[in-house]
Structure formats: C-alpha cells, structure tokens
C-alpha cells in the first residue's frame, strides 16, 4: 500500500479577507507536528506574506485564484506552497532583495525577507504572464529536544 503523507490543498479568490483564513489554516494543519508558539507564529507570518503578495502583486487589477498547499515532509518538516496564476515576476533575484518593492509607499519590501527569515528554506519560481509559486519548508523542533 502507498504510504500516505498528510496534506491539504485549498483554493480561494484573491480577496484580502482570505489572508487571515489562509495563515490560520496552515497553522491548524501544522498543529499535528506539535509546534511551539514561536514556530506557529513563524508559519503564520510566512503564509501571510506569501498570500498577501498574490493579492497585492499577482492580481493587481482583478480577482484571481490562489492555491495554498501544506504537506508533511518527513517526520518533522512542514512544506508550504503558495501559488498564483497572476502577472509573474521578471527578475526573481532582484524581487527577493530586502527593501525591493514595486508597491510604492504602501509596502516596505520586506515580505520575501520575512519568509526567508521565518522558515528554513524558500524557493520562488515565476514565469512572467503565467504566475508564481513560492515553496517554503519549516522544520518543527521535536518536543524531546526542547
């Protein structure tokens, strides 16, 4: 029999009211790894940044779909994927530099830095005109080592 690894896949429209739903769904899924409060905070922060980017940047003038996938990866790692089918990013490396923003006064250009700092790995794949996929991995400390 195939070994079933637990996952969730949620799709929702790019309405800002869903930012809180998405990060809290990820946190509730992560609960089965018995994370600390600090780790839950990190997961919520990273998901909130990624989903907000889809809402603000990927679909600037329309409502599009956002997909959130969370998957248990090995024994103690959570993989989080946030995907959109929006405008995409021309230069991913540049976009990921701290303080880089195309959002003007309203934004601080700290989103990718937060995702990077609050998880253990961050990968961004993007095709202009096709969309963006952000993949993050977060190791959850085992209770025995705390």
């Amino acid at each position: 029999m195939m070994k079933a690894e637990n996952y969730i896949k949620i799709e929702f429209p790019s309405l800002s009211v869903n930012e809180s739903f998405a990060r809290n769904a990820a946190a509730v899924f992560a609960a089965q790894l018995d994370p600390t409060l600090d780790e839950i905070g990190d997961i919520k922060t990273a998901v909130s940044e990624a989903v907000t980017n889809c809402i603000v940047h990927a679909y600037p003038n329309e409502i599009g779909n956002i997909q959130l996938r969370c998957r248990l990866f090995g024994k103690n790692t959570l993989e989080i994927v946030v995907r959109d089918w929006g405008v995409g990013i021309e230069d991913v490396e540049k976009a990921m530099e701290p303080l880089f923003t195309t959002g003007g006064d309203e934004r601080s250009g700290m989103g990718f830095s937060m995702m990077e700092g609050f998880t253990d790995s961050l990968k961004v794949r993007s095709v202009p005109g096709k969309g963006t996929t952000v993949t993050m991995k977060k190791r959850i400390s085992s209770r025995a080592r705390r």
């Binding site: 905070g41 907000t52 601080s108």
Partner: protein, 104 residues
C-alpha cells in the same frame, strides 16, 4: 481588528486589538489617521497589548502613524509589544526608527 482611542491632556492612546495584516491594516490606518487629525496630540502612544499577530503590514502602520505624529512635532512610541509582533519588528530593524517597549 479594532481600534480604541482615548485622549487626555494632549496624549492620544491608540489601542489595537486583533491580527494586523494587509486586510485589517487598511481600515485600522484610516481610523488612526482620523483620530490624530481630530485630536492633534502632542504625544501619541500605540498600545499593542491586544495584538498577538502581525505580518509586515504592521511595520507600515507603525511608520505611517509615527510620520503623521512627527509632522505635528509630537512624540510617538509603541507599547506592550508581544512576542510575535516583536519578532517581526526586530527582523525588519524597526527599533532603530521607532521607540518600542515590549510587553512584560
């Protein structure tokens, strides 16, 4: 997200409650701006006791509130910052720009 303001002898206290994100920050920022425009305080304290979560949108709320207060030549500080918001503000080095007191 709720915004509660109290004003006494030139000091405006703004207490936020709930989670700060891009969605909630918009309305919160409007309410904060309105309160400042109405009272024109000499001193403004942003009380984050009731905020258990913020993402980078909270940074913009702090900086924009401070900017408005400084335009009035007022003093601005942030109080009762809990663990998660504190971690976000530290990651962005907000402490070098804004006077921040943590919740003890």
């Amino acid at each position: 997200m709720s915004v509660q303001t109290t004003y006494d002898k030139g000091e405006l206290r703004i207490a936020l409650n709930g989670e700060i994100d891009h969605h909630s920050a918009k309305t919160a920022m409007n309410e904060i701006s309105d309160a400042i425009d109405q009272k024109l305080p000499r001193n403004c304290v942003l009380d984050l006791m009731g905020v258990n979560f913020t993402d980078s949108s909270g940074i913009a709320v702090l900086l924009r509130t401070q900017k408005k207060i400084h335009e009035l030549d007022g003093e601005f500080s942030v109080e009762n910052v809990r663990a998660q918001p504190s971690k976000v503000f530290k990651a962005a080095n907000v402490g070098i720009m804004v006077a921040i007191k943590e919740y003890k």
